[in-house]
Amino acid sequence: MSDALLRLDRLDVHYGAIHALRGISFEVREGEIVTLIGANGAGKTTTLRAISGLLKPSGGSIVYRGEPVAGVKPYKLVARGLSHAPEGRGIFPNLTVRENLMLGAFLRRDQDGIESDVQRGFALFPILRERERQMAGTLSGGEQQMLSIARALMARPKLLLLDEPSLGLAPQVTETIFRIIEEINRAGVTILLVEQNAHLALGIAHHGHVLETGQVVQSGTGQELLRSPEVRKAYLGE
């Protein structure tokens, strides 16, 4: 248990009167890809937002790198290597691709390191190099998603939270993005992935958890969940 990079323990979140997360517990070990699957409104995005500090949990604990971080402001967590590429990408449409990337490195001061990471981002997503001086708002959906991931990497995270990277993307683009997510993971970044597309997500994940109405109802390795009849019935459209 001690080698968990991130551990959630009986996490509760309320939005006003709505009990959005009801005692969620799971952990993410260093080097893993862990995925949360479930229907819309099940609490996947809420979980990510609570982890990255955008939401204050009403109960339970979040332990990141051995320290409790529930309610800690997002900027402090970024400084400790936790990056979150939010749902809907959240790129700055009126800034250029390069400016967006530079904002991802907001807390860093090593100019050379930043530049080499920009180049590394371009190497991962060559299309972004072509769009370097373009306003991010003019990018296609897939390109914006790539930018969002590349930008999150600019903070040199240890743990990367990805929210619905396949949202609104054509299947081929989705496939590319998932291949790159695996590549990023092999380069040593731990990934917590929220996905609608349970097939793809479980296919690359070491572990997965199924969320339903704010609770973890099933957990297992990616392959176990892919084979589970309940998951197949509920999320793989069978």
Binding site: G53, L54, N94, L95, L103, F106
Partner: protein
Amino acid sequence: MAEFFQHIINGISVGAIYALIALGYTMVYGVLKLINFAHGDVFMIGAMVGWYVARWTGESRDPSIPGALLVTLASMLACAILGFVIERAAYRPLRNSPRLNSLITAIGVSFFLEYGGQYVFGPNPRVFTVLPRHPGLHVGPVSLGYVDVVTVVVSVVLMFLLQRIVFHTRMGTAMRAVSYNSTVASLMGVNIDLVISFTFVLGSVLAAVAGILYASKYPSVQPLMGLMPGLKAFVAAVLGGIGNVPGAMLGGLVLGLAEQIVSGYLSSSWRDAVAFGILILVLLVRPTGLLGRGEAEKV
């Protein structure tokens, strides 16, 4: 023709002051989407602090350039603290409430500064002398008042500095990021609270300088002096496209010029109506202001 140039020069000078105040409105609006109605009164406090410091240092009896600088710096410092405190005490607790609430709080703070000013300072205008007397410049029949020249020079320098801060520093980058999308900005590691405090401080410092310049131009200070210039500056900010820094400068200039031309050729009593008339026309034609960008609502 000479008369026309005279109006233009006056217009630029008044417009520059409006622009300085408008920057405070527009920056705060950019990061918080809040109309900080108390901003005009921060401008007034800037002038008032200047008056007290000038009296205390003897500057008002024997004006000098270094003395004027000292007075201005003191007033900037006072307004910086004031802006910081207003945000912390009155706006931050309401950051997640409906925006109308913060607006009422802003109005409350505005009343507080005005009536507090009347209580401390007395309701009557007092003469304000900080800059040394100087006949000004004469170019043919057009005369450039000394205060006008100083106003324009100081404003241009400040706006240039502001442009550098907003577009070429880390804090400026953070400000822009927060104004585009504060949630995402926080995920990039931006400390939102710090940025908002900084924005208030920056806007208040500019308002302090504007207060000193305005008080030197008319030369008097009184507790309600922030009311009209504050409102006009807000109009200037909306005119230029609220949340947009170059827009605030442009809006201030347009407003100053229009006012001076109308009071020159028509009557000064119609001046205020013209400011709002222009605003309404511009908004009806370009609902997001001259340089503002529209946002379509997604259904």
